[in-house]
């Protein structure tokens, strides 16, 4: 019994990270129909920021600094991606451009950090365990779950309650119409692109003590995030949350029950959702068009 509950907690931690990572991917797709294939590379950049700044057993302050540094690096890269993709008219070309950026970033990272597997330690203050379900569970992972909850609430308040959030949802529904109401949608888009990339990079730091950093991780994470976005519904924020929680659980339970089939289960879950609900679990409603 305890094993499953620990697995469920692991799933929640994974779901929190996946939500942070998939959110930007989903919103950028919803707003401009562009799949940002560099999103995984942005995540990896964050993970290597953690490698560079976090020797074993650092204090919480340094860890927070690494999170902020990764957010800044991710925002800059996201802003650059927004500017580059906006200059290109066709969606396929835009996707190819982001793929090119992904390859360049990944190559640069492996030049700087080598091809070794780096493990990253949790900050010393939260490196221990607490008693849960008759065993011990890492405090750090509970904090990651807490981060996921705070993020979900913050995103909900921003997107559902603020004028900026209203404009973002309207832009997902009908971008040209929002522009005709005097909103510089290019700037909104760049902001969302940058914020989404910043979150992915922060995800890279936070996931560091769990997943480490190594070449190829960018592709794995991108694939997981894509599955989350497809399951939840492209452009849907609630969908991204639900998809992340679901995939987090599927992966954790799969690892507990059927380790050799864990990754197969994730794609089986996606196939099942697409079969039952082709637009995803919580698709954003699209605009009424002429």
């Amino acid at each position: 019994m305890g094993t499953y509950l620990v697995g469920a907690l692991n799933g929640l931690a994974m779901g929190s990270l996946l939500f942070a990572i998939a959110l930007g991917l989903s919103l950028v797709f919803g707003m401009m129909d562009v799949l940002n294939l560099a999103h995984g590379a942005v995540y990896l950049l964050g993970a290597y920021v953690a490698v560079a700044l976090l020797p074993d057993g650092v204090g919480l302050g340094v860890f927070v600094l690494a999170v902020l540094a990764a957010a800044a690096a991710g925002a800059v890269l996201g802003g650059a991606l927004a500017a580059m993709t906006r200059a290109i008219p066709h969606h396929l070309d835009q996707a190819l451009l982001t793929l090119g950026v992904a390859l360049v970033v990944a190559e640069l990272l492996s030049l700087v950090f080598g091809n070794d597997v780096h493990s990253i330690a949790a900050p010393a203050a939260v490196g221990g365990g607490v008693a849960v379900f008759g065993g011990t569970y890492p405090v750090y992972r509970l904090l990651v779950i807490g981060f996921g909850i705070v993020l979900a609430v913050a995103v909900y308040l921003l997107v559902e309650r603020s004028r900026l959030g209203t404009v973002i949802r309207a832009t997902v529904a009908d971008r040209a119409m929002v522009a005709a109401l005097g909103v510089n949608t290019g700037r909104v888009l760049a902001g969302v692109f940058a914020a989404g990339a910043a979150l992915a990079a922060v995800g890279g730091v936070l996931a560091g003590p769990i997943l480490g950093a190594q070449p190829g991780l960018d592709e794995k994470v991108l694939l997981l995030a894509l599955v989350v976005v497809v399951i939840g519904g492209l452009g849907s924020i609630r969908g991204a949350l639900l998809g992340a929680l679901l995939i987090g659980q599927v992966q954790a339970l799969g690892t507990t029950l059927l380790p050799q089939y864990a990754s197969f289960l994730i794609f089986a879950a996606m196939a099942l959702v697409l079969l039952l609900r082709p637009a995803g679990l919580l698709p954003p409603r699209t605009a009424v068009r002429a």
Binding site: R163, V167, R169, V178, A180, A287
Partner: protein, 245 residues
Amino acid sequence: MTDLLAVAGLRGGYAGTTVLDGVDLTVAEGSVMALLGRNGAGKSTFVHTVMGMLKPYGGSVRIGGRELAGSPAHVVARHGVAIVPQGRRVFAPLTVEENLRVAARGAGGPWTPARIYEVLPGLAARRTHRGDQLSGGEQQMLAIGRALLRNPRLLLLDEPSDGLAPTVVDRIAELLEGLRDEGMTALLVEQDLHLATRLADEIAVMQKGRIVHRTSTDAFRRDRPLAQTLLGVGTQPSGPGGDRS
């Protein structure tokens, strides 16, 4: 009277195909211009190009004397142009309130959400309903309210009566009449001749991406054969002069 909108030699279309083949049209400040023409004549393309939602291939679009051809839509909007597009295009997942919030700028003008709700009580009752839960008439009211919140100098209306029941069309006509009497400048694309002649001071006719005729509404009313040859009115639901009333 000065021209608030002055379009000259405007060419445009979609991905290289030409739809607008040199449009010349002016709308005087404080007047309503109706733009008529058969389906596919290029009326919506024209409206979208003036709004900056489509890039023109060439030509001039002046708003209050300022050249805005090729400017993006948000810039055109900030120079005082607002659109009520064909098909309404309310934001389906957003509530009525949120639809209006997207349009509301911080600074001034007579139109505020409170006044919109006052003039359109039907919308006030549906404030918390989503765009896709509204009837066609309510969506049209919302699209008009959203445009008015921009406090525009020039209002572009693309077939506001399209697909609506006669009683609803009448309510929209009354609303637009009120705006006209307050001095609103508007370009009204309309297939419903009765509505167009009721609201407009002048009438222009578009054919194959050009303005082929322009006249005062009074002269147009008296000249039934003209309407028939230019528009193929026999195929329209209502004739000029309004067999509807």
